[in-house]
């Protein structure tokens, strides 16, 4: 994969030769295979190969960017030239300081598995079939609406005129199952279970069982009276709520642009004292773990909240320069094709420290409350104020310390920042889900309509 570095160096050199004062190339190359389930059967197998290069060129404090998905000498030269031209057409940014310099990278662990590289589509079909079988065998009222098994292998590289030169590789493998259950006219909402890892250690059959179990226990849902309850959020629900509120509030660009309720709150208590949160770009086997971030800055562990007190914000190179601090390595290249994106400030593995209670104990301590697995509509939350108003689905009523019955159409409303203050217990069942690493979390005084 040395060729990625060579292409990157070429792009940087071309941009500098055209007149850029600084230049950076980001490259990625990936192959993915997946097997897809639709309406109770395996119907599809796909393979995608993608590669490309994105060039940033800086001229007079103005930044231009161009990308291409064709890696030839000619197309690389064109992209570098167009990045420089775009910088010339753009306006200077008085806060632009400079691209990062080379730092020293840590080796990551649990992020690359030769077994994933060697996986054949036939093996993936077998895994998908085994998962599907466990779902359909669980209960004949369950329909496997969709799901699948997928594996990918990727390489990324960053080169810049400040001396950064990094190359990394990774693997990912995952399976998911979406189900509904139908009993006469009683139809459940869609239920979903997923297991994603960086190494070949997924339990597809457990996913199949769990998705079926959720659907069956969602049958016979009843309405609940409005009220204020303790609510236990499972990871998918908590992740949706945090993504549009808390995670944004600790990003330095939100803070610097007065879009964060946490501005000027470093050192203040912003959460219940049992809450400790960190962002760890180097987490063993983390779904967002890498040696360096989207602009070649070493990834690191950053404490965000310690025992309820706000400690740090997350920075990329630009916001760090603006605040005259060091980047926390949180520049991300997002989207379908990472090379097509300029760096965006994003959390990596955003981690809530687990507590001492099992899931059963969390439930047993609730006299009357809700267990919320997922929420719908979190993207309509107000990112600045933290106001949210979402439909909980699937969701169960807890009565007398036990999960009693499924609930239909419960709306859960509140302010995400109050939720943090009202966390009363954390489970020990820490799980990785997307960029969130967290256990089940119990929150007091949540309003349900």
């Amino acid at each position: 994969m040395q060729e990625l570095i060579d292409y990157g160096k070429k792009a940087v050199n071309v941009a500098l030769r055209r007149g850029a004062e600084e230049a950076e190339a980001y490259l990625s190359m990936s192959t993915g295979t997946s097997i897809e389930i639709e309406r109770g059967q395996i119907v599809r197998s796909t393979k995608s190969m993608d590669q490309g290069l994105g060039v940033r060129a800086v001229y007079g404090k103005a930044v231009g960017f161009a990308y291409t998905n064709t890696l030839t000498d000619k197309s690389i030269e064109e992209a570098a030239g167009r990045a420089f031209k775009a910088a010339r057409a753009s306006k200077p940014d008085k806060n632009w300081h400079k691209l990062p310099n080379q730092g020293s990278y840590y080796e990551t662990t649990g992020t690359y598995d030769k077994k994933v590289v060697a996986l054949s589509s036939d093996e993936l079909v077998e895994t998908a079939a085994a998962m599907l079988e466990t779902t359909t065998a669980y209960d004949k009222r369950v329909l496997a609406v969709g799901g699948g098994v997928g594996a990918s292998v990727f390489h990324t590289a960053v080169v810049n005129s400040g001396g950064v030169e990094g190359i990394d590789r990774g693997t990912a493998v995952g399976c998911s199952m979406e189900t509904i259950a139908r009993n006469g006219a009683d139809v459940t909402p869609a239920c979903f279970e997923v297991d994603a890892k960086r190494v070949y250690d997924i339990d597809a059959e457990a996913v199949g069982v769990e998705a079926a179990k959720q659907a069956v226990s969602s049958l016979g849902a009843k309405k609940v009276e409005s009220g204020v309850f303790p609510v236990i959020f499972a990871q998918p629900a908590f992740r949706s709520l945090l993504y549009y509120t808390l995670i944004n509030a600790v990003k330095a660009d939100y803070v610097q642009r007065e879009r964060s309720a946490f501005k000027d709150k470093i050192g203040e208590k912003v959460a219940s004292e049992i809450v400790t949160v960190w962002d760890d770009g180097l987490l063993d086997g983390g779904l967002s773990t890498s040696k360096f971030d989207g602009e070649g800055v070493p990834c690191q562990k950053t404490v965000v909240i310690e025992k309820g007190v706000l400690k740090n914000f997350l920075y990329d190179n630009y916001t760090a320069n603006k605040a005259k601090v060091a980047s926390t390595g949180n520049a991300s290249r997002s989207g379908l094709a990472s090379y097509a994106s300029t760096p965006v400030l994003e959390a990596s593995n955003f981690t809530f420290k687990g507590g001492d209670r099992t899931a059963e104990e969390l439930v047993a301590e609730v006299d009357e409350g809700l267990l919320v697995y997922g929420v719908q509509g979190a993207h309509s939350s107000n990112p600045e104020s933290g106001d949210f108003s979402v439909v909980a689905t699937p969701v169960w009523k807890i009565e007398g310390g036990e999960v009693a019955y499924a609930v239909r159409g419960a709306m859960v409303t509140g302010v995400a920042f109050d939720v943090l203050q009202n966390i009363s217990a954390l489970g020990s069942n820490v799980k990785k889900l997307g960029q969130l690493v967290a256990p089940w979390i119990r929150v007091e005084d949540v309003k349900a309509v």
């Binding site: 097997i35 309406r39 059967q41 395996i42 119907v43 599809r44 197998s45 796909t46 393979k47 995608s48 190969m49 993608d50 590669q51 490309g52 994105g54 103005a62 231009g64 960017f65 161009a66 990308y67 291409t68 998905n69 064709t70 992209a79 910088a87 057409a89 753009s90 306006k91 008085k94 806060n95 589509s121 079909v125 998908a128 509904i180 139809v187 909402p189 869609a190 642009r257 007065e258 379908l336 094709a337 300029t342 719908q376 509509g377 993207h379 309509s380 107000n382 990112p383 600045e384 104020s385 106001d387 108003s389 979402v390 439909v391 159409g409 709306m411 509140g414 302010v415 109050d418 309003k447």
Partner: protein, 460 residues
């Protein structure tokens, strides 16, 4: 190019594909982001690639590649057929496709102002004008983020039924997000512009007009109160009607989701809404963000009725679901780009107009809410929907009252559609982007309507 693709398709047939299609794409994009008057980056990109989809042994194989030389295409075709056969080993009910007539066509985009001929400087200037308008509106406005995107290019579609379509693509899109703060009150608002006509869309949707609309909306929220939770009568504006129709009804009428057991399963031909309700998904609206001539299975787009006078009369079908349901493909199969397979997506989805004036809708309401503009929405297969509202007002004694912030509505699609009591005679169509694993450009809208009862949340 077409000859190379036809050869690839013929080769696919010769190695066992029952059906095969090759879709290539050559796209050029311009993107801009400004934050608080600063250009974060002026960006350009080119993407060239192809997606090959083969049906063999009753299952699909799909391969996407970023190189379109004959050698890579042949390898990709071989792999797509092999993948289909691997999945086919497990298929119980083989996939079959509804027949469509083969088409040969060349679709040329004819914008009055081609965005390719507008300089980067001009695009930056226009974006910064919008930013200035926002900040100039009120000093409590703290941030403004604007994204701009234009896409131009050409797709070629060739399949083993003899269809060969070369179709130009042209999209313009802009989104503006503004936030304001007064003491401990934070407010935010957003708006989008989207078109398939040309850069001339900004002659009517001027930076000043859009900037003022968003600025006014965010500032109004600062003095707004939070809503009471509970069930209330509501007048719903075109922008919220659109997202409700899209999220709460439209997705359930995408035949792949209907077949998966959505709340519309078994409801074809049945009354599912008040008889004032007629809904279309329409790919033929001139210049609208969700319009195109042929979909990504080479099927001509339609104006597809979904509900007519309260009765569910149609679904959105691709060739696979159309065969399964013994219906006709409606031209709704869309792929985000060459990396993705075509799936059933909406186009421009709207509620048809009625005959009430706004005053007639509102006059009988003693206390309720006027829901004017949305911020996000989502629905579940069972018809449970949620729509966040960024601009709303109280209705008190038949009049629009004080502004309300951070509201959201929820309910069940079918229950809510039955409670539509009156439909306005105005009409607006709003552009947006829809996520279903892939992103699609769409529009939704309709007239103002009155709903007897809807659950209002928010206001902790």
């Amino acid at each position: 190019m077409k000859d190379i693709l036809t050869k690839a398709v013929d080769y696919g047939r010769s190695i066992g594909a029952e059906y095969i299609e090759v879709r290539t794409q050559k796209l050029f994009k311009t993107l801009l982001t400004t934050k608080d008057g600063t250009v974060e980056g002026a960006k350009e990109g080119t993407e060239i690639g192809g997606g090959i989809r083969a049906l063999a042994d009753g299952a699909w194989g799909f391969v996407s590649i970023g190189k379109l030389e004959p050698k890579q295409l042949t390898e990709a075709v071989t792999e797509a057929v092999r993948l289909a056969k691997a999945a086919g080993l497990r298929v119980k009910k083989p996939v079959k496709l509804a027949n469509v007539k083969a088409v040969e066509d060349r679709v040329v985009a004819a914008p009055r102002k081609n965005p390719q001929n507008v300089s980067m400087e001009e695009k930056i200037k226009s974006t910064l004008t919008m930013d200035k308008t926002v900040f100039g509106y009120d000093k409590r406005i703290r941030s403004c983020t604007i994204n701009y995107l234009d896409v131009t290019g050409t797709n070629i579609f060739v399949n083993s039924d003899g269809t060969c379509i070369e179709q130009d693509k042209l999209y313009l899109w802009s989104r503006i997000l503004a936030s304001a703060r007064q003491n401990s009150i934070y407010a935010s608002a957003r708006e989008e512009v989207g078109s398939t006509s040309g850069y001339e869309v900004f002659d009517t949707e001027t930076p000043e007009k859009i900037g003022t609309m968003v600025a006014k909306r965010v500032v109004e929220q600062l003095k707004a109160k939070t809503p009471k939770g509970g069930s209330f009568p509501a007048v719903i504006g075109p922008n919220v009607v659109g997202v409700f129709i899209h999220e709460a009804l439209g997705h359930l009428a995408e035949a792949d989701l209907t077949l998966s057991g959505s709340a519309l399963f078994d409801k074809l031909g049945k009354q599912i809404a008040s008889d004032l309700v007629t809904v279309y998904d329409d790919g033929t609206v001139d210049g609208a963000f969700g319009s195109f001539k042929y979909d990504d299975e080479g099927v001509r787009t339609h104006k597809t009725p979904l509900i007519e006078r309260g009765t569910l009369t149609g679904l959105m079908n691709d060739r696979e679901t159309a065969h399964k349901l013994n219906m006709t493909p409606t031209g709704n199969a869309r792929a985000e780009d060459f990396r993705s397979e075509p799936i059933i997506r909406m186009r421009n989805t709207y509620l048809a107009t009625g005959d009430s004036s706004f005053e007639e809708l509102i006059e009988g309401i003693d206390f309720g809410y006027y829901l004017k503009s949305f911020r996000g929405g989502q629905a579940n297969l069972d018809g449970t929907f949620q729509v966040g509202i960024q601009e709303a007002y109280e209705i008190v004694k038949g009049r629009v009252g004080e502004p309300v912030r951070s509201a959201s509505i929820s309910g069940n699609t079918l229950e809510t559609l039955h409670m539509v009591e009156a439909v306005g005679r105005d009409f607006e169509l709003w552009p947006g982007r829809c996520g279903k694993g892939q992103t699609a450009f769409i529009c939704d809208g309709g007239p103002h309507i009155r709903v007897g009862e809807v659950t209002i949340g928010g206001g902790a």
